[in-house]
């Protein structure tokens, strides 16, 4: 699969500043292919999460197009785009992203549950892989930050997605957990998935096939 962005940009309305709008992402092109792990670094507010959200199909750009192979994802209606995202992408959101009333196991199953499906074996194997099997029935409020993040990655991998988006996946994690997260994402990339990670930390560069830097809405390679 090839993920290609053509001339995408995003502006946000800002109430308190003198100018009404600020450009979170300035017009840019971006291409990434299967098996590549891309790390986009940048400071907070540089526009990297906005770029990630646009690429993943949850934030429509103000201009430009995003193609997954030949599919222009934003030309699809919400219903079709949602199914497409569910089947093709895995998303690791920033911060704590668990559904608080569900157990760890139920949270991992969410991408399947929302379409009435289930895959117990897959969930079990992912829990074992991320060493959280013993926490199967624990509620998110009982889990540490590292455990929650491992749950979040397991959930993103539940449907063997072709593209994985990770927004600050190692933020607030210790070195050991950071290593676990990056190695898991590297393995997914080695298995053929596109992995796009945005982070403000330096750790990711050791695993990256391509490095980008985001600065004031501009994407710079290298």
């Amino acid at each position: 699969m090839i993920l290609k962005a053509e001339g995408i940009k995003k502006q946000f309305y800002r109430k308190k500043e003198s100018s009404n709008y600020f450009e979170a992402v300035k017009p840019l092109d971006f291409t990434v292919s299967s098996g590549e792990l891309v790390v986009i670094q940048g400071r907070s507010g540089s526009g990297k999460s906005t770029l990630l959200n646009m690429l993943s199909g949850i934030l429509k750009p103000d201009a430009g197009k995003i193609f997954y192979d030949d599919t222009d994802i934003y030309s699809m209606k919400d219903e079709a785009l949602s199914v497409f995202r569910n089947e093709n992408t895995g998303f690791i959101p920033q911060g704590k992203s668990a559904v608080m009333s569900l157990t760890l196991y139920e949270n991992i199953m969410v991408p399947l549950t929302i379409y009435g499906k289930s895959d117990e074996e897959k969930a079990k194997s992912l829990m074992e892989r991320f060493d959280i099997s013993n926490l199967k029935d624990a509620k998110p409020s009982e889990l540490s930050g590292g455990e929650l993040r491992r749950m979040s990655i397991a959930r993103a991998l539940m449907k063997d997605p072709k593209v994985i988006f990770a927004d600050e996946p190692t933020g607030d994690l210790d070195d050991e957990n950071t290593k676990v997260v990056f190695e898991a994402l590297k393995k997914a990339s080695d298995d053929g998935a596109i992995v796009i990670i945005v982070t403000h930390e330096e750790d990711g560069k050791n695993y990256a096939d391509k490095m980008y830097r985001m600065n004031a809405g501009e994407l710079i390679e290298g």
Partner: protein
């Protein structure tokens, strides 16, 4: 997807309970309020039927010395008498259709009751007011020394009661009427005359010099078809100075006014509480969904469509409203049954609970209204959630 809703409801017990409680409160109020209004209307309608005659003729002194309306309408005890010859005289007036006499007597102490009860005697051959009720309730024949008791009295078919030392048999118990009927005892002319005689013998009657053979307490008249009730009333009041003819509709006009007032206030209250309930539910749902915005955004990021998100929030709201409304109706029902007497006393108006069929209809209507409230409030939030900007929420980390 809906399994997430169920788990969410179970997993957040405090919040779910609060929403169920709110919906329950709303449906309990709508149910209890509507049942109250319906009971007042039933009571009034029952009272109209209970009066059953166009004109009531009583001794003039009954309108001045005793509170006639309290005896007739509220079930207070009291009695008065006039010469029975008026019955024949009044029957000759043009326009008089049916005519019958009644006899009143207040017991001093009755075995059924801690307080004196009003005993009403009637002539089964001419009566057109009480007999239809007794026939409707039991169909029992009232023989000599037989009585029929009102529904609120602590006496049952087969019991023997003692009035002025005379033992009488309870042959029927009337259905609940919500009127003074419920606390009165009914018997035939022969029996009441025996009781009046015994009250005289025991010097327990206020009227020491009467002869039970030639007295009646009141005469009830139904106008013949095509004749004016007012003209009959005027004819009696002009030509019989010792009597007072009262149009029964005028007797209950005060009650009708009070009923309209109470019913009106109740209906406005029901409407106001319903609107307030919707507003509270909307605010509660907005607060709850606002607090869960990140969760919803995560579900959206996992591939849930806007339609699915709408369904999730809407279904949760409807389910909580349904559970709440059913509990609310049950609570409202228990409340009405438990405090029926207290409500009746505090309103001082005829009060008759509707039939089971009507209660079920009101219960379903209360549930439906609560569901509409739940649908409106959760629908507004569901719409907000389904159209939220997932990217912005995830980006801002809300």
């Amino acid at each position: 997807m809906f399994s997430i809703v169920i788990k969410n409801i179970k997993g957040r017990k405090g919040r779910s309970f609060a929403m169920i409680f709110l919906a329950g409160l709303l449906s309990a109020f709508v149910f209890a309020g509507t049942v109250t209004v319906q009971s007042l209307q039933n009571g009034f309608s029952s009272l109209e039927n209970r009066l059953g005659a166009d004109v009531m003729v009583v001794p003039y002194e009954a309108t001045t010395k005793t509170n006639l309306e309290n005896i007739v309408l509220q079930g207070s005890t009291g009695y008065f008498y006039m010469d029975s010859s008026y019955l024949d005289e009044l029957s000759q007036i043009e326009g008089v259709g049916e005519i019958t006499a009644q006899y009143y007597l207040a017991s001093v102490k009755a075995s059924c009751c801690s307080i004196p009860v009003e005993i009403i005697g009637f002539d089964p051959d001419t009566d057109f007011v009480i007999t239809p009720w007794i026939k409707k309730s039991s169909g029992a024949e009232i023989g000599y020394l037989d009585v029929v008791v009102g529904n609120d009295l602590n006496a049952f078919v087969g019991d023997t009661l003692s009035f002025f030392g005379v033992e009488v048999n309870v042959v029927a118990k009337l259905e609940k009427t919500g009127t003074s009927y419920d606390t009165q005892v009914f018997t035939n002319e022969e029996t009441i005359k025996t009781l009046i005689d015994e009250s005289l013998n025991k010097q327990l009657n206020e009227y020491a010099d009467i002869n039970s053979g030639n007295i009646v307490s009141c005469i009830l008249i139904d106008a013949a078809d095509g004749y004016s009730v007012d003209e009959i009333v005027n004819e009696i009041n002009v030509h019989y100075k010792k009597l007072s003819a009262i149009r029964t509709q005028n007797m209950i006009s005060g009650i009708s006014d009070s009923l309209s007032g109470v019913s009106g206030i109740m209906q406005v209250l029901i409407g106001a509480i319903w609107i307030l309930g919707i507003c509270i539910l909307i605010v509660a749902y907005i607060m709850i969904t606002g607090e869960r915005k990140k969760e919803f955004a995560v579900l959206r990021a996992m591939g849930a469509s806007g339609k699915k998100m709408f369904g999730l929030v809407f279904f949760e709201g409807m389910l909580l409203s349904l559970i709440g409304s059913v509990f609310g109706v049950i609570f409202g029902f228990v409340l009405m049954i438990s405090f029926e007497g207290a409500i009746e006393n505090s309103l001082s108006l005829p009060f008759l609970l509707p039939s089971w069929g009507i209660m079920i209809v009101i219960a379903l209507a209360a549930i439906a209204l609560t569901l509409i409230s739940g649908a409106l409030s959760s629908g507004i939030c569901a719409k907000r959630i389904s159209s939220m900007d997932t990217g912005n929420i995830l980006r801002s980390g809300e």
